[in-house]
């Protein structure tokens, strides 16, 4: 059985409500705090959750919401100041180990990290990035970054003129800290081995250290 958590969500707008719905559908217990009384009433009607009407920046309201026993707190209001203070109070005053804060203004992301929010989520940046990738015709797509942006999973479509075509994987000199994870060839998914031969049109999924992306691209696509 997987471990079920208690998650306290502050802000019951679209993001908070949807998050609460997903988490409770997954069997977790959820508490929700929102300033707006009407919003709280609506959420209470729709979800099986503890709903508190009040300001999440007020330590007493957080306490009412069960902050002390929560595994995670997610501050997802539309106000960056509030989200930051909520995460700090949860962490410093109530010893919550994991704080997730929604960043509304991308300029504030750095401040969130510096002031101790464990996971700053910058929705604007994420959406902008996805759209940017969808509209670009590049053969190279960054699927996701993790370890605070130090590692990335990327997808590369091998073009006809790729210098890696018809080579065996062991002969492709990958940049440091890079590894080919899988090759999607038509309907087939291949886990690459040393003697796997790369073909034109292969979709390659690779993990790479973020600084080495250009080298990897150069190697597989043949241009920068």
């Amino acid at each position: 059985m997987t471990y079920k958590m208690y998650i306290l969500i502050v802000g019951a707008g679209k993001v908070g409500y949807f998050l609460a719905k997903r988490l409770s559908a997954g069997g977790n217990t959820v508490g929700i705090i929102d300033k707006d009384k009407a919003v709280c009433e609506e959420v209470a009607r729709q979800l099986e959750a503890l709903v508190i009407n009040g300001d999440g920046c007020d330590p007493r309201i957080l306490e009412e919401g069960g902050v002390a026993r929560s595994d995670v707190i997610a501050a997802v209001t539309g106000d960056d100041e509030d989200n930051l203070i909520i995460c700090q109070l949860a962490k410093e005053r109530f010893k919550v180990t994991r704080t997730v804060g929604r960043v509304n203004n991308p300029d504030n992301e750095h401040t969130f990290s510096e002031l101790g929010v464990d996971v700053p989520i910058d929705a604007t940046k994420i959406i902008a990035k996805i759209i940017e990738e969808e509209v670009s015709f590049s053969d190279f797509v960054n699927l996701m970054s993790f370890k605070r942006g130090k590692l990335a999973i990327v997808r590369v479509d091998l073009p006809d003129d790729s210098p890696a075509i018809e080579k065996e994987v062991k002969d492709v000199r990958l940049p440091p800290d890079s590894v080919l994870v899988s090759i999607v060839r038509g309907e087939e998914v291949i886990v690459p081995k040393g003697d796997t031969v790369l073909k034109s049109g292969d979709d390659i999924i690779a993990i790479t250290a973020v600084g080495n992306e250009p080298q990897l691209l150069n190697l597989l696509v043949g241009k920068l």
Partner: protein, 214 residues
């Protein structure tokens, strides 16, 4: 000194004028440019319109060279964040934040921020004036302990300071007399017309007043 003030409300504007009149370099930041009207014509510092924790704006304000940073907007959260940005990201040596909510003031003081809570301060000051005109707790920034001034009259003349002290409740800290202010020890003898200043627990005020017949 080079001082950055965030918030040009009544407090921020007054502080800005005070410092600038004393010859300090002042930069004052407010979201609303109309707020700078409060500064009047005599203010000769800089004004910048924008958000008090915008890193670029703060750099523009010269925060890397600032000696002091005060966050005095009417928003507690804005003040808390601006102050932390100044302290943790830009390493300004003296950072002060004004906080209305006593609970948040208490939590963030404990976390090492220099907080001034007008709410606590004013409530305590007014309380002081009501219960005893010569008593003030704001000097020690606590609502439980304060400083009382006692005019030495017949019943106290000739007493040793050591006889007056009550451990944990009343400690004489200074005597103001004609020659100047002296810090007494247990053997210092009180003279007529001395003004004795003592730290006292608020809870013990009544007892003290009865004991010394004030």
């Amino acid at each position: 000194m080079y001082v950055i003030i965030v918030g040009c409300g009544r407090v921020g504007a007054e502080l800005g004028k005070l410092l600038s009149q004393e010859g300090h370099n002042v930069v004052i930041i407010d979201k609303n440019p109309a707020a700078f009207d409060r500064l009047g014509g005599a203010f000769n510092g800089l004004t910048l319109a924008g958000n008090g924790f915008d890193l670029n704006l703060l750099k523009q304000a010269g925060i890397e060279n600032a000696d002091a940073f005060c966050a005095v907007t009417n928003g507690d959260n804005t003040n808390l964040i601006s102050a932390q940005v100044a302290k943790k990201i830009f390493k300004v040596s003296k950072v002060i934040a004004r906080i209305y909510d006593p609970q948040r003031a208490h939590i963030y003081s404990a976390l090492g921020l220099d907080i001034i809570s007008g709410t606590v301060l004013f409530a305590a000051m007014i309380r002081d004036k009501i219960i005893e005109s010569r008593f003030s707790s704001y000097l020690i920034e606590s609502k439980d302990t304060g400083v009382i001034e006692i005019e030495v009259k017949n019943n106290l003349v000739g007493k040793k300071v050591g006889e007056m002290n009550i451990a944990g409740e009343f400690i004489a800290v200074a005597i103001r007399r004609m020659e100047g202010v002296l810090l007494p020890d247990a053997d210092t003898i009180l003279k007529e017309k001395d003004i004795l200043m003592a730290a006292v627990k608020v809870a013990s005020l009544k007892k003290i007043k009865e004991r010394f017949d004030l």
